[in-house]
């Protein structure tokens, strides 16, 4: 199983942070998922929860049950010694409608000016890629999507906005994502989706999981309004293709 050189760091009183090489890579993502899967399967009673995003894995443990040094040693042993077959995870592709009208995509003119490409090109580039879900975090249902075209990379705002609307589709650094609820945020907003990525009313509040893929498709303001009505009436189901 051991493929990468990992760094183990204490994170406060009762958490350990494990870092893979800090790059966006599907190989790393698969390796983290595998490691996380193996740890979960061992059902270690002193582990409270595990989550990962991109190239980092966080393990929160009960510090009254195990010491940091012992847990660190144990995790290194598991990663280096345990031979585990690679899992073939199902990779669903989710199709997400986005209205890129500048009424929603308030930062499109700014990005267009800064990146010296037209708004139309930003939209066509953003909606033609398949994005890999590298983690769910930041907020309930916030998907970290990898695979943003280099043409659209742009550094985060120096000071985050205090209020970004629910459904806002945005770009931050080399990442793109959807804000699942009203929240503060430091990314540049390029559009908005009417669908809810996270809905507590559902048995599974978040359908999209790490390893899945996401594809955006542009819709008009009229289509946005009609989808909103369908969603309100409970008639809309998120579309997915392939396994």
């Amino acid at each position: 199983m051991s493929t990468f050189k990992l760094t183990y760091k204490p994170f406060g009183e009762s958490a350990i942070l494990i870092e893979w090489p800090q790059i966006i890579s599907i190989d790393i993502l698969d390796d983290i998922r595998n490691f996380s899967f193996v740890i979960n399967k061992l059902d270690l009673k002193y582990i409270l929860e595990i989550n990962f995003v991109y190239s980092s894995l966080l393990i929160i443990y009960k510090s009254n049950k195990i010491k940091y040094a012992d847990l660190n040693k144990k995790l290194q042993f598991i990663y280096n010694e345990k031979s585990v077959k690679k899992n073939n995870f199902k990779k669903t592709i989710w199709e997400i409608p986005v209205c890129y009208d500048i009424e929603f995509g308030i930062d499109l003119p700014f990005l267009s000016l800064q990146k010296k490409i037209s708004i139309e090109e930003i939209i066509s580039t953003h909606s033609s890629s398949y994005y890999t879900v590298f983690g769910v975090g930041f907020l309930p249902g916030f998907l970290y999507l990898g695979g943003l075209s280099k043409k659209l990379h742009f550094k985060r705002r120096d000071t985050p906005r205090l209020k970004v609307p629910k459904g806002a589709v945005a770009i931050g650094g080399n990442q793109t994502g959807i804000y699942p609820k009203i929240s503060p945020g430091g990314w540049h907003i390029i559009g908005e989706t009417p669908i809810s990525i996270f809905d507590i009313k559902n048995k599974k509040p978040c359908l999209i999981i790490p390893g899945d893929k996401v594809k955006f498709y542009p819709i008009s303001k009229q289509e946005f309004k009609s989808l909103e009505l369908q969603i309100e009436a409970g008639m809309y189901r998120l579309k997915s293709v392939g396994k």
Binding site: K9, P10, F11, G12, E13, A15, L17, E19, Q22, I23, I24, L48, E49, I50, N51, F52, V53, Y54, S55, S56, L57, L58, I60, G135, V136, G137, F138, L139, P140, G141, F142, Y144, K155, R156, D158, T159, P160, L162, G172, G173, Q175, P180, K181, P184, G186, F198, I200, P205, C206, P210
Partner: protein, 281 residues
Amino acid sequence: MIKVIQAGLYTSIQDIGRFGYRNIGVPTSGTMDSISANFANALLNNNSNDAVLEITMLGPKLEFTTPTVIIITGAEMSSKLNNISITNYKKYSIKKGDILSFGELKKGLRCYLAVKGGFKTSKVLKSRSFYNGITSKDSFKKHDIILYDSYADDINTFNSAIKNTTLFFETKVLEVYKGPDFNLFTLEEQQKICSNKYTVSNLMNRMGYRIKETIIKHNKSILTSPVLPGTVQLTPSGQLIILMKDAQTTGGYPRILQLTEKSIAILAQKKEGDTFNFLLI
């Protein structure tokens, strides 16, 4: 149950928090000052995970419709039972129709009201802690009701208040660990971060506290990685954001320090203009 006559500034149900859902981005939540909340539950012989009412800055006015025993811990907010002043850290028997109200904030920012057996609002994802988008509300409004199991026991005759001349949260020192990204900064910068004096800004809530001072402007960006309640982030504009219980589960600003649970509780009792410094442990 309790009828909310006035809601106060921000009054919510909290327990020890929501664990096991960080992988779909659900924050821990739970009591901001877990030390005071635990104290309240312990003094009532409740379970440590029983839900309490977290009351922020400006307290509510509440009417009890069934008997119970209550205790208030944490911030001193001039609480009154049927218009007669009552003391924190002391148990009071409650009868049907009793009115609990709050007045001037004297010490701290958040107080905890516990009832015998804990509040029985519904659990969502295994916790009663309010969090916008998970529970149906994030704070109480006028006319809301708050459920608990009635409990009849006259305890007033044999209990006296614990004398708290100095409360644990009055210290200005927050004990911290080095964060995972502390070493991205030079020795000189690290020393500046650790020795500076900080002031709480007006941008502070259950998600985080933004700090007034600008210390080190930088352009160090990290690949988004997990964060925790108590994580101290340094934004490129040079300001600290200290994440609190409702904070996001991941972030992209360098994580320079990490507060202990006790330091989170101390900071939770600080308000705009209060100052503090860090002590690296």
